[in-house]
Subunit: 161 residues, 2 copies
Amino acid sequence: MTDILADPLRPHEEAVTLPESFDAGIWFVGRIRTPWTRREECPKRGDAEAGPLCRIEIAEPWVPALAGIERHQTLQVLYWMHLSRRDAVRQNPHFDDASTGTFALRSPLRPNPIASSLVRLIGVEGAVLTVRGLDCIDGTPLIDLKPEFGALWCDTSPPMR
Amino acid sequence: MTDILADPLRPHEEAVTLPESFDAGIWFVGRIRTPWTRREECPKRGDAEAGPLCRIEIAEPWVPALAGIERHQTLQVLYWMHLSRRDAVRQNPHFDDASTGTFALRSPLRPNPIASSLVRLIGVEGAVLTVRGLDCIDGTPLIDLKPEFGALWCDTSPPMR
């Protein structure tokens, strides 16, 4: 389920024993296609203005749910960070002498590894959207798309782990 | 699992047959306490400035993941809209003569009923956060918390279903 070996704990990091059963289930509603095939290549955060074109491929039976999406310039994309370990509660993103709680970080390592990105919608053709602003590895499972009405483009975020 | 009877389809709405098995599992990491005990009472969107104080109660074993969260003024809250049917792909939010795809709406009815809200953090005491800006029913399951660095407060969103 989770590729824990890919994320060895760093000094001061802390992991917990995971619950034995899930509380709810998710369906992957599509796949994200990006230029990045290894996690180390992924940008820390997508650039919805200057980032590369990426594709979001919607799977059946969800394609009809795209109707009207072309009217929106900005979309919120929820995706599943399928390569992240889920048991880390304290993390050390900067390899220093301290750690920070997972809920105080946007690290991909989290109990429910759901990422939220804001992207610019460039085009729609059938079941495929073209967007700018993603930052995930090629093949990442898609969970949801929502129109975003907030003022994204005055964002001044610092870089993140 | 899903209280479909609570959301009868409206004219022009369309539902699909749901997949038989899930692709991933979610753990509820806490509970949200709000003043609203019925869905009809919930605001269309939370108000992080003037909305009522709400509580986010983190469950074990995730409480250590709060370390450092008090340094953030704005949090992104992901929660599970446990009362929403999940099979609607076209919806008619305004009861008119047309329908719109689910991915072009922020309606709570979606394949994976995950909501994303931006809230103002007012205080932290042990495993409990006090925030403003939520819009969900009392007892809603919490999925994730992340610090939000974007420019939330220039938001000029229209009201939504």
